[in-house]
C-alpha cells in the first residue's frame, strides 16, 4: 500500500493544515489588539491580554489551582474505582454483565444535561452542593466510563495468567496485585489518567451546576468569554487551557514510559 504519489502527501498536508491552522490563528488572536476587517493580520499587537492574565483580577492562580486540583483529584478517584471494575469486566464473567457494561458506558453518550439538574438537587440535600467535594463527585460520572473502558482493555490484553502464576509462587492476592498486576497495568493507568484529567477539565455544565459559581475552573472562565465575544481574552485563556492539558498529558506519557521501562527491568531482574 505504500506507493509513492505526490497527491497523497499533498492531501495529507492539506488535511493537517485545516486541522492545525485554527490553533495558530488562536495564538495570533491572543496578541491582537485590533484586527479590523479586512486585514489578514492584526493592525496592532499588544501583550495586554497576557499581562492581564497575570494580574490579580484575572484570578489566574486560584483558577489554575482549582482546575488542576479538581481534575487531578477526579483522575485519582476515577482510577481507583476503575481498576477493580475494569478487572471484573475484563477478566470475570458474571450474570448481568451486559447490563453493567451498558451502565458503565452510558455516561459517555448521555449528556450531563440529563443528570446535572437532578444531581444538584441531590447534592443540595446532602449538603455538598457548591463545594469542591460535590463537583469532584459529579465529575466522576463522565470520567469513570473512560477509565473503566481503557483499563478493561488493558486487563483483557493482560489476562490473569501472570497473577495466577504469582499466586502459585506463594503471593497473597494483595501481593500478587501489588507486585505483578499493578506494575503491568501502570502504563495503561497513566495514559487513562491523561484522558480523565482532560475530560474533567473540559466539563462546563457539571461544574457550573454543581459548583454554583464557586468552583471556577478554566472551562468556567472560558465559556462566558467565548459567549460574550471577548476574543483576545478567550484566545489567551484557551491557550492556557491547551497548555495545561498538554503538560499533564506529557507528564502522564513520561510516567507511562517510566512505568514501562521499570516493568522491563522487573522482568529482567
Amino acid at each position: 500500500m505504500k506507493t509513492r504519489s505526490p497527491f497523497a502527501p499533498l492531501l495529507l498536508f492539506a488535511f493537517l493544515t485545516l486541522l492545525l491552522l485554527p490553533v495558530l490563528v488562536l495564538l495570533i488572536w491572543s496578541v491582537a489588539r485590533s484586527w479590523p476587517w479586512p486585514s489578514l493580520l492584526p493592525a496592532a499587537y499588544s501583550a495586554a491580554e497576557w499581562k492581564s492574565l497575570f494580574s490579580a483580577s484575572s484570578r489566574l492562580v486560584p483558577v489554575l489551582l482549582q482546575s488542576v486540583l479538581l481534575a487531578g483529584g477526579v483522575t485519582l478517584l476515577s482510577l481507583a474505582a476503575s481498576v477493580p471494575a475494569a478487572k471484573a469486566l475484563g477478566l470475570l464473567s458474571f450474570p448481568g454483565k451486559s447490563v453493567v457494561e451498558m451502565l458503565v458506558l452510558a455516561p459517555v453518550i448521555v449528556p450531563p444535561l440529563s443528570y446535572a439538574p437532578g444531581m444538584h438537587l441531590l447534592f443540595l440535600r446532602l449538603g455538598i452542593a457548591d463545594s469542591f467535594a460535590g463537583v469532584l463527585l459529579a465529575h466522576l460520572v463522565p470520567c469513570l466510563p473512560y477509565g473503566i473502558r481503557i483499563l478493561t482493555n488493558v486487563f483483557r490484553a493482560l489476562g490473569d495468567r501472570l497473577e495466577m502464576q504469582a499466586r502459585v509462587l506463594g503471593a497473597s492476592p494483595a501481593q500478587a496485585f501489588l507486585h505483578v498486576t499493578l506494575p503491568l497495568i501502570a502504563p495503561g493507568m497513566a495514559s487513562a489518567g491523561g484522558l480523565l484529567f482532560i475530560v474533567s477539565l473540559s466539563q462546563y455544565l457539571l461544574t457550573f451546576f454543581l459548583g454554583g459559581g464557586r468552583i471556577v475552573t478554566l472551562s468556567m472562565v472560558l465559556l462566558p468569554l467565548v459567549k460574550d465575544g471577548e476574543r483576545a481574552a478567550a484566545a489567551v485563556w484557551s491557550t492556557l487551557f491547551i497548555a495545561v492539558s498538554l503538560l499533564f498529558c506529557l507528564l502522564m506519557e513520561r510516567a507511562a514510559k517510566r512505568c514501562a521501562s521499570s516493568r522491563d527491568t522487573f522482568f529482567l531482574s
Binding site: 479590523p36 483580577s57 443540595l124 440535600r125 459559581g213 462566558p224 459567549k227
Partner: protein, 405 residues
C-alpha cells in the same frame, strides 16, 4: 421532598419574613454598627452577569479594594447569568438549603418579579442602608418600581441604564429617528444591521423600544399580562419587525445571541449600527481603539426604554450583613461617580442630585462623558419607562413565535 416539609418550610419563611417586616427598620437603623462588626473579615459572594469586562474590572479593581480597606470584606465576584442564579436559588429552596453561597445578586425586571413571586429574596433591607436613606429618593418611580413592579425594599438601586444606538457616521450618514427611518436605513445598507435575539437583555429592550415607538407605552401598561391580549396589542410592532427582517444581517435568519456580539461585529465593521443598554458604551470603546472614531450614539425621537438595575440579597444568603455593607458601599457618591465614567463603565448614577453636597456633585461633574455620546439630559428626556415586568417574557415569546419563525 414531602408535602409536610414543604408546609413547614413555608411557615418558617413566613415567620422569618414577618419578623423582618416588623423589626427590620428599627433593628438596622440603630444597629448599622453591629452589621459592620458582623461583616468584618467575611467574604461576600457577588453574583451577576459577567459578560462586560469593564463592569467586572470596576468591581474587582474599584469596589473590592475599597471594601477590603474600609470594612475588611473580601468581595468574590462570580459571573453568572441571572436566569442561572434564580434557578440555583430555586433548587436550593426546594432542597431547604439555608446556608446559600450567593450573598448579593444583580437583578431587575422580570427576574426580580419571578424572584419575588417565589420568595427567593431577603428583605426588605434598603431602609437599613445609611447611604440609601441619605442619597436615594425611595419614592421615585424608578426606585420604588422595577418594570412596574413595586420593589418594597427588596432591592437597592445599582445604576440606571437606557437603550442607546450607535452608528458609524462614515457609513450610516443619517441617524434613524424612529422605526420607519430604521427600516429605510436597513434597506439602504442590507445585511449590516441587526439586534440581539431576545431574551438577551439588550435585544429584548430593543424589541420593547420598537413596540413603544409604534404602539406607544400607554396603550400597553393597562393590559393584563395575558399572551393573547398582548399579541393583539403589539401586532403592528411585530409586523414591522417581520418587514425589517429581510434587510437584516443574515436576512434575519439568525440573530446575535448577545449584545457583546453586537459590539464585536460593530468593531469588525460587519454592522454599521449597534445598540447597547450601557449608554456610554461607545466613548469607552472609541477610547480603547476598538470602535472607529466616527462612531456616534443616538436615541429615537420618541425615546428608548430605560430602567434601573438593582442589587438584592437571596433569602438564604449566608452573609446578609456583609451583603448589605457591599450594597451600601455601592451607593456612595464615590462609587456611583466612578462607574459613571465611560472609560470605567458608563453606568448612570442612581443618587438624588439634590441630596448631594457640592463636593459630591463635583465628583459627577468632573466625569468626562467622552466622544460620540448623547448628552445626558437629552437622553433622559427621551427615556421611556420599562413595560411591566411580567410582560417581558411574554413579549420575548411572541417575538420568537412571530418574528423568528
Amino acid at each position: 421532598m414531602t408535602f409536610r416539609s414543604t408546609i413547614r418550610t413555608k411557615c418558617c419563611m413566613l415567620l422569618i419574613f414577618a419578623l423582618f417586616f416588623a423589626a427590620a427598620p428599627r433593628l438596622f437603623a440603630s444597629d448599622w454598627g453591629a452589621v459592620l462588626d458582623a461583616s468584618r473579615g467575611t467574604i461576600v459572594n457577588f453574583y451577576g452577569w459577567g459578560g462586560d469586562p469593564n463592569v467586572n474590572a470596576w468591581l474587582d479593581t474599584f469596589v473590592a479594594p475599597r471594601l477590603k480597606e474600609r470594612y475588611g470584606i473580601v468581595l468574590n465576584r462570580v459571573g453568572m447569568g441571572i436566569g442561572e442564579v434564580l434557578n440555583k436559588l430555586l433548587s436550593e429552596k426546594a432542597a431547604e438549603k439555608t446556608d446559600g453561597v450567593i450573598d448579593v445578586v444583580w437583578i431587575n425586571g422580570e427576574n426580580f418579579f419571578a424572584a419575588r413571586r417565589n420568595d427567593l429574596l431577603f428583605g426588605p433591607f434598603t431602609q437599613a442602608l445609611p447611604n440609601f436613606r441619605e442619597f436615594v429618593d425611595a419614592a421615585a418611580g424608578d426606585v420604588a418600581f422595577d418594570f412596574g413592579f413595586p420593589t418594597e425594599g427588596y432591592e437597592s438601586p445599582y445604576g440606571k441604564a437606557q437603550l442607546v444606538f450607535f452608528r458609524d457616521t462614515e457609513r450610516l450618514k443619517e441617524a434613524p429617528g424612529g422605526h420607519e427611518e430604521l427600516l429605510e436605513a436597513a434597506k439602504k445598507h442590507p445585511g449590516t444591521i441587526t439586534y440581539p435575539a431576545p431574551p438577551d437583555f439588550t435585544g429584548s429592550a430593543f424589541v420593547r423600544t420598537v413596540v413603544c415607538d409604534i404602539v406607544g407605552r400607554e396603550a400597553l401598561v393597562s393590559l393584563p399580562a395575558d399572551k393573547e391580549a398582548l399579541r393583539k396589542a403589539v401586532a403592528p410592532a411585530m409586523e414591522f419587525l417581520v418587514a425589517l427582517k429581510p434587510y437584516l444581517w443574515m436576512r434575519g435568519e439568525s440573530y446575535p445571541a448577545s449584545s457583546s456580539q453586537i459590539k464585536n461585529m460593530f468593531a469588525d465593521g460587519e454592522i454599521v449600527l449597534g445598540m447597547s443598554y450601557t449608554p456610554f458604551l461607545a466613548p469607552g470603546r472609541i477610547a480603547a481603539g476598538e470602535f472607529p472614531e466616527s462612531t456616534e450614539s443616538f436615541v429615537f425621537e420618541k425615546g428608548t426604554v430605560g430602567n434601573t438595575h438593582f442589587l438584592a440579597i437571596p433569602f438564604n444568603a449566608s452573609n446578609a450583613s456583609g451583603a448589605m455593607v457591599v450594597i451600601n458601599e455601592i451607593l456612595t457618591p464615590e462609587a456611583q461617580a466612578s462607574k459613571y465614567d465611560p472609560a470605567v463603565w458608563g453606568d448612570l448614577p442612581v443618587l438624588e442630585y439634590a441630596r448631594l453636597s457640592s463636593e459630591e456633585r463635583a465628583l459627577f461633574e468632573s466625569v468626562d462623558t467622552g466622544k460620540g455620546t448623547v448628552p445626558l439630559d437629552f437622553m433622559l428626556r427621551r427615556r421611556v419607562p420599562e413595560l411591566p415586568a411580567n410582560f417581558i417574557p411574554i413579549l420575548d415569546e411572541i417575538w420568537r413565535e412571530t418574528v423568528l419563525k
